[in-house]
Amino acid sequence: MAGYTEERYDVNGIDTAVFTAGEGPPLVYFHGAGTLTGFDKLLPLSERFRLIVPNHPGYGASADDPSIDSIQDYVNHYLDLFDQLGVDELTLVGLSMGGYLAATFGIQQTHRVQQLVLCCPIGLRVPEHPITDIFTVPDEQLLGYLAVDLSCFDDCVPMPPTPEFLAERYREQTSTARVFWNRVYDPKLPKWLHRLTMPTLLLWGEQDRLVPVQQAAVWAEHIPSATIRTLPNVGHLLFEETPDATGAILEFAGQGVAV
């Protein structure tokens, strides 16, 4: 299994990093509100797909753009990028904030998104099982909210954290706050989820402390085509915690596309 190739694109003035691996039909992965753990655990997807992992503006290896401050700005940004990449129809996978973005992209580009995988997405207001407000979690407890098995941070979190490491986290939190400072959901999202008519998988860690697994059923109520798959003993960063996460995606999406 080969690693990623990094490509750079000028997307409407934003220097955008795109990591790709493998051959086949395109599968785009929208990451969550941080790039701390990298994306190597997604590489099994490259065995069946042309795996495309862009870094959002203001995250990881992509440049900042303070004017990207709404979900719609992200959708437009990716319309631009996909034009450059020559990606038309695609399988779209998104985790957390990336899941919300993928759902929104799917609502607007229903006919392009062939298959949709929403991994513990934010975006929905579920008063009985609310999303943890990530901004209020004390720094020293944050990792415990992200994963059950903290060993997945061994290689990516310096102890003690260096000023440079903290500044990079602050930068990504700033990018997140531009869109989500007030709240991490859109009360009107349920009104439009019916447009997600493509095969849709809701993939969730059963021990998710940020977006409770009980929200999966609420998403499924609004998306008639959705199936739910939950992963036992897994937290929010499900790809970091178990290879079953990519396995579940290959099982769901790998059959439906011509290689």
């Binding site: 401050d69 901004f135 000023p163 903290l166 990079e168 700033t174 531009r178 400072w181 007030n182």
Partner: protein
């Protein structure tokens, strides 16, 4: 001509919820999340407000040039989350001194409404108002996230000031079309009593951005609690930048904040004041670092600068001596306090002093004693250092000092 010739002394009062619980160690924060159920008592609050108004009245009677009050939210530090309400009350128990509101974070409200509110105060007080505009501490953004986003705070701050000044100075109803605000009929009523408007300042912590805002809007510049070298650097920066822009910054455009306690001798002053000033830092400034810098409140490079500076990163662990060293805290006899403040003013080339004289939960008699000594013993000593001071005054003071 010396800077002390035109010194102005403002009684800067924090309006604390002035009670420190015996078991204060068990509280992590007195900002943003202090539990009101455990710490707030409405009857005590009523008495604190009465106390604070008495102190403003006393300061007016004692001859302070001005009275200064500010606004914070969700905190025992300040009982004035709607500071204009308090300023209105202050205007009615005083008659002479200027009243500086320093101030409503303009991002927390709409600028046309603040233009109305401040114009009301100026008319009510008969032109005694001055205003200083803070960006708002990081904590205000946690306490009011539904209204404001720290990531756009600086851009909104600029536009809001622009709206407010236009609202005050335009004679006809006008429209305004900005990035954050759009007004069809901007036409606040009343307009300020003072023409074109009261003396204005920006409150900053020394960053390039706030310094530039002050100059661009022709306002003075006031500093919050930051280390003295940072203050001096900020003043140097504003003068340098002013020169580039062809503007002048006078000593009357700059404010330094001084924490002072006066008693007959240095020893007595330290013995009396120290426990309260310690509590001022340890209880009234109990802020988890996370609350100081919400995401986007500063740039990533500024964040890195602060995270790399051990003193800034671990400021909450500073000792009493550290705090006295880096801040403008002066505790001592009238001579000690007068000499130090005069020296600070000259160093900073700044003629406005906002002096804090009530510290933490100190009893009212101590505040009254401190205020009285400062007004009657310290201010005349400082004025006597000026070139305008007459020989007679100097003799009288020498007699007092002996």
């Amino acid at each position: 001509m010396s800077v002390v010739d035109d010194m102005k002394f403002y009684f800067f009062h924090h309006n604390h919820y002035a009670e420190v619980p015996k078991d204060h160690e068990r509280y992590d924060a007195t900002w943003v999340i202090p539990p009101a159920g455990e710490l707030f008592d409405a009857e005590k609050a009523h008495n604190f407000y009465r106390h604070h108004l008495r102190m403003f009245k006393l300061a007016d009677d004692l001859g302070f040039d001005g009275l200064c009050l500010n606004e914070h939210h969700n905190t025992v530090y300040s009982m004035t989350p709607a500071v204009s309400v308090m300023a209105s009350a202050v205007s009615q128990v005083t008659s002479r001194a200027k009243i500086m509101v320093a101030g409503v974070p303009i991002n927390l409200t709409t600028p046309n409404r603040l233009a109305e509110e401040y114009a009301m105060l100026d008319c009510i007080s008969g032109g005694r108002m001055e205003f200083a505009f803070p960006l708002g501490t990081g904590m205000e953004y946690w306490s009011n996230n539904g209204q404001i986003n720290p990531t756009s705070s600086r851009a909104r701050f600029r536009e809001s000031l622009d709206v407010l000044l236009k609202a005050w100075t335009t004679e006809e109803p006008m429209s305004y079309d900005g990035d954050f605000y759009n007004f069809r009929y901007l036409n606040p009523w009343p307009k300020p009593y003072q023409k074109p408007y009261p003396k204005l300042f920006v409150v900053g912590s020394g960053s390039m951005e706030t310094v530039e805002v002050a100059l661009d809007f022709d306002m003075g510049y006031s500093l919050v609690f930051v280390p003295i070298p940072v203050q001096l650097k900020a003043f140097a920066r504003i003068r340098e930048m002013a020169e580039q822009k062809g503007k002048t910054v006078t000593p009357d455009d700059l404010i330094i904040v001084v924490i002072a306690y006066v008693a007959d001798t240095d020893e007595e002053a330290m013995r009396e004041a120290r426990p309260y000033i310690e509590k001022f830092w340890s209880w009234f400034h109990r802020v988890p670092p996370k609350f100081l810098l919400p995401p986007g409140y500063v740039s990533t490079s500024e964040f890195l600068r602060r995270a790399s500076d051990a003193a800034l990163a671990h400021g909450t662990e500073a000792t009493f001596e550290d705090m006295v060293d880096i801040s403008r805290t002066i505790i001592g006899s009238p001579d000690t306090v007068a000499d130090t403040i005069a020296q600070w003013a000259e160093e900073a080339d700044c003629s406005r002093i906002n002096v804090v004289l009530e510290h933490a939960d100190m009893p009212e008699w101590m505040t009254v004693k401190n205020m009285t000594l400062f007004a009657n013993e310290v201010i005349p000593r400082i004025r006597a250092k000026g070139t305008k001071a007459t020989v007679t005054e100097s003799r009288e003071l020498a007699a007092v000092g002996s």
